[in-house]
């Protein structure tokens, strides 16, 4: 793969099993690879999962109609209940999908928030790409 040349490898040597007798000690190599970024894409990795936990937990609750209704009754109180941080709360208030992704939101949980707002995936696509919904649909159809 051409992309491979961008991969930076760093190796950390750690004892395989520190509790074993020293004569049996072996070393294993743990490799962490820094992957080349994919433009416009934020893989939902451990960093994102840590950052976005409260936001995603709130959005996960939207599987329940009662929770959706509770959110709509008082958005601020509901966000507080889930301890959203300021970036996450600002993203929810502004219906800012890209901001919510930056704040650790995962596409599948955020889609449940979009469902509350009555937005479908083309609406969400348009919001994220700065297009009108018609332009976004035309972009999809153009791949055919």
């Amino acid at each position: 793969m051409a992309a491979r040349k961008f991969v930076e490898l760093s190796a950390v040597r750690i004892p395989a099993d520190a509790t074993r007798r020293s004569t049996e000690r072996k070393e294993i190599t743990v490799t962490t690879a820094k992957l080349p970024p994919i433009p416009g894409t934020t893989p939902f990795d451990g960093e994102q999962a840590k950052k976005g936990y409260a936001l995603n937990k709130m959005c996960f609750s939207f599987n329940s109609a009662d929770c959706r209704a509770e959110f709509l009754r008082d958005e601020e109180a509901y966000m507080k209940k889930y301890s959203l941080n300021e970036d996450q709360a600002a993203g929810i208030r502004a219906r800012d999908v890209l901001g919510l992704i930056r704040a650790g939101g995962n596409a599948y949980y955020l889609a449940k928030f979009a469902g509350i707002l009555g937005l479908n995936m083309q609406d969400i696509g348009a919001l994220q790409t700065g297009m009108t919904v018609e332009q976004f649909k035309a972009k999809l159809a153009a791949y055919a």
């Binding site: 992309a3 416009g40 894409t41 893989p43 329940s64 889609a111 995936m121 994220q128 159809a141």
Partner: protein, 279 residues
């Protein structure tokens, strides 16, 4: 011993559930998608599988980030669908096959897949919609066993690892002491991306190459890392790992019963394949 009759793979976009509920199968937008299933249903009427094993990915109905198993296997008598929050109708429960579930679980662990077992498991659109597409009657007339692969939280299992999982699932079915006919289903894909500035990304060339590989070069896509698959097929395009696992389960030569590829369904390049096992 049980027999694998073949495999079915399809996209599983939630909007399909909405279209079914509104009877939009003949609508100009949906017709090219739904018509693809007619020859597949005809084949299913002929081969009459007794049970399905469904490889799919949960999208935040059964699993949340508090506990996210890489591979999980259902071991319930019945699998319930539920409100997923995005307004698609909840479908009728699907019967399970407990005997096959535990046979798969025992075989997978025996062969070093440290799976999570689920005696209660909600199944989302990625499980229910494909069954509805293949068997439109309600409830689904045959029992099914869900096998779930994490595609929500990275690191995801590699394409190679998912293929290996499918191989064990296939071997397990073939050594299951039963006279049942089993169909293996893989759901998801093909190329699409829901999130980020790159939302709406589709890669037709890759999808068509991948579908061709399903027939006579099934390991082709296992050469790619998850990162490379995201780059080539979009964040959600990685769901093709379910297709790989299903194909690995069938093993050996296959005959193409039918395939269909249509852009777009919602934000997705939709793919459908029915392959009959020849060995």
């Amino acid at each position: 011993m049980a027999k694998i009759v073949g495999m079915l793979t399809t996209s599983h976009v939630p909007a399909i559930g909405g279209a079914i509920a509104k009877n939009l199968q003949q609508d100009a937008y949906w017709k090219p998608f739904f018509d693809g299933f007619l020859p597949v249903r005809k084949w299913l009427d002929e081969v009459k599988p007794d049970v399905a094993v469904v490889l799919y990915n949960d999208h935040g109905l059964n699993f949340f980030l508090d506990k996210m198993p890489t591979f999980s296997v259902g071991a319930a008598r019945e699998y319930h669908n539920a409100d997923e929050g995005w307004g698609i109708p909840t479908l009728a429960p699907t019967r399970g096959d407990i005997d096959l579930s535990w046979h798969l679980i025992n075989n997978l662990v025996e062969r070093d897949f440290d799976i999570t077992t689920c005696q209660e498991m909600l199944v989302d659109h990625a499980f229910t919609i494909p069954l509805k597409l293949f068997w439109p009657q309600s409830p689904c007339p045959i029992p099914a066993v869900p096998v779930c692969i994490n595609t929500v939280q990275f690191p995801l299992p590699s394409a190679k690892r998912c293929y290996a999982l499918g191989e064990v699932v296939g071997d397990a079915i073939r050594n299951w002491d039963s006279d049942k006919k089993v169909v293996v289903i893989g759901t998801g894909g093909l190329s699409h991306q829901l999130d980020g500035e790159r939302a709406g990304f589709i890669n037709k060339d890759f999808d068509l190459k991948f579908m061709a590989s399903m027939i006579d070069d099934p390991k082709w896509a296992t050469q790619f890392s998850i990162h490379e698959l995201v780059e080539k097929t979009g964040t959600q395009g990685v769901e093709l790992v379910m297709w790989l696992a299903a194909r690995a389960a069938v093993k050996g030569k296959v005959r193409k019963v039918h395939s269909n590829y249509h852009i777009p369904i919602s934000n997705t390049a939709s793919g459908l394949m029915a392959l009959e096992a020849l060995e």
